[in-house]
């Protein structure tokens, strides 16, 4: 579980986050949704420690993230995996080397053990046999899956995904969503996903916070989204005519 308390963040005079409280549950896919510029990425970067909040606390279970000693922080880092919007795969490394990178840096496993773990992860994301390919030689969807394999190679307790569906076709997006959900439930991971994708909201949104102008203005799950009376949320979620019709149908 990750809990944020009264998170504020300013850049110079611009206040981006204006006091946020939320709990991201373990074993669930927790979604941060909102319009562009609402503060989703800043919140995600605060959660993973790339930005420090101007005020407020981030709790990883019982650990105050920004008050940890260097040793404890390093230990916590080992429990965190992240899938980036652009995948952040190292171009000069093969798929297997990319996935093995965190193990190479910190693990005391033998090369054989590391390779075994890499193969396990690649198999889990259905990429067995792609070990020796370079990121430039595989599709965008496959790159995402390599990113997921790298994020889970250290068996994380917390998984963060920044726009996991961006740039993917609808079918591949569903595959990626399903994969993230399956991993989250099977390994009881606290997964936090930052997304614009309405399909993800409807399919895997078990615990959702909706951001608007630096504040959380709605909390709920995918079922509650359909029946919510929050105008702000509705104008965001049901922006397309197709979804408006779907909602009208659901109300009936």
């Amino acid at each position: 579980m990750i809990r944020i308390e009264n998170i504020h963040k300013s850049f110079d005079d611009v206040q981006v986050l204006k006091g946020m409280d939320f709990e991201f549950d373990a074993g669930k896919t927790n979604l941060i949704i909102g319009r562009s510029g609402a503060g989703k990425t800043v919140l995600l970067k605060i959660l993973v420690g790339l930005f420090k909040p101007t005020d407020g606390k981030v709790w990883y279970d019982t650990r105050d993230f920004f008050d940890l000693s260097k040793e404890d922080l390093r230990a916590l880092r080992m429990e965190v995996g992240m899938l980036f919007q652009g995948n952040a795969l190292f171009d000069s490394m093969t798929v297997a080397e990319n996935v093995r990178f965190p193990l190479d840096m910190f693990s005391k496993m033998t090369l054989k053990e590391k390779n075994h773990r890499v193969n396990e992860c690649l198999e889990r994301v259905q990429l067995n046999g792609s070990n020796d390919k370079y990121p430039s030689e595989i599709s965008g969807g496959m790159q995402k899956r390599v990113g997921i394999a790298r994020a889970i190679v250290y068996k994380p307790k917390y998984l963060f995904c920044d726009e996991p569906n961006s740039g993917l076709d609808p079918k591949t997006s569903i595959t990626i969503d399903d994969l993230i959900k399956e991993i989250t439930e099977a390994d009881n991971i606290t997964t936090v996903i930052n997304t614009h994708d309405m399909n993800s909201v409807m399919e895997i949104g078990e615990n959702i916070c909706f951001l608007d102008k630096g504040k959380i203005v709605w909390k709920g799950n995918r079922h509650e989204v359909m029946t919510s009376e929050n105008e702000n949320l509705n104008s965001f979620i049901f922006a397309s005519p197709f979804l408006q019709r779907l909602k009208a149908k659901a109300k009936k």
């Binding site: 993973v48 420690g49 790339l50 922080l73 390093r74 880092r77 080992m78 965190v80 992240m82 980036f84 919007q85 652009g86 952040a88 190292f90 990178f101 965190p102 190479d104 840096m105 910190f106 963060f160």
Partner: protein, 248 residues
């Protein structure tokens, strides 16, 4: 002026992270070897071409300046040698490397920043300043002095090729000049300069890439700044090192 102090402060503070312990030693070692190869072998041809012509021009110009004076012909070999060792090999080579290696390093690290590679490593717990920059510093400190040493030899050979086969003066005069008034301290000075210049080129260029913000235009600007600042600082430090090593 305020911006200058901000960058200076950040550059100094950044060094604290560079020299902190990083992850696995074998990964670090592999990266150092790659850098020595990239900077050293990758720059060998350009250093060779530039050095041979610098040596040739020096000999030609000395011949032009000293012909008709009472200064003995063999002094030309002596002047070419000392100019190469004391000044030209280190300074010219490092100015060229500031362009070639500096822009490359700024673009490489800046590209990693933009593609979120650095963020990814930091989330994994990697000390990115140390993992990305320290191998480049060590690689540069090994490769660049060797390149400068090679440049000095090629400089002298260039002077020979431009003057003896063309009949400006004899083999005997040039070789006699090379053997005259040799001072080992000048070689030490050349190596001190090359180490100082190498450190400046690598750290200034990596700094520009590491802290780049924005898109491709900013990355291009960072690469340009890496080259310009490295060149200016190489020339300033050349003067400072010359004062420190030649006075008192």
């Amino acid at each position: 002026m305020k911006s200058l102090f901000i960058h200076l402060g950040r550059y100094v503070m950044w060094h604290k992270n560079i020299y902190k312990k990083t992850g696995n030693f074998s990964m670090f070692y592999k990266e150092v070897v790659r850098q020595v190869y990239d900077i050293g072998v990758g720059s060998l041809l350009i250093v060779f071409i530039i050095s041979i012509f610098i040596g040739a021009v020096t000999a030609q110009q000395m011949y032009y300046q000293l012909t008709g004076t009472s200064i003995p012909a063999y002094y030309i070999g002596y002047i070419v040698r000392d100019m190469a060792i004391i000044e030209l090999a280190a300074t010219f080579t490092c100015l060229v490397l500031a362009g070639k290696v500096g822009s490359n390093l700024a673009a490489e690290i800046g590209g990693m920043r933009q593609k979120e590679h650095i963020d990814a490593m930091e989330i994994m717990g990697v000390n990115t300043a140390s993992y990305l920059v320290l191998p480049k510093i060590i690689g540069g400190l090994i490769a660049i002095p060797i390149l400068v040493f090679i440049a000095a030899i090629v400089n002298i050979a260039g002077g020979y090729l431009a003057s003896v086969p063309t009949g400006l003066f004899t083999n005997f005069d040039y070789v006699k000049g090379l053997r005259s008034f040799f001072n080992e301290y000048n070689v030490l000075m050349m190596f001190v300069k090359s180490v100082v210049f190498a450190y400046i080129i690598i750290t200034v260029s990596c700094y520009q890439g590491y802290f780049v913000k924005g898109g491709n235009i900013e990355l291009g600007q960072a690469s340009t700044r890496a080259v310009v600042y490295s060149c200016v600082l190489v020339l300033v430090s050349d003067y400072v090192v010359a004062i420190l090593l030649t006075t008192g």
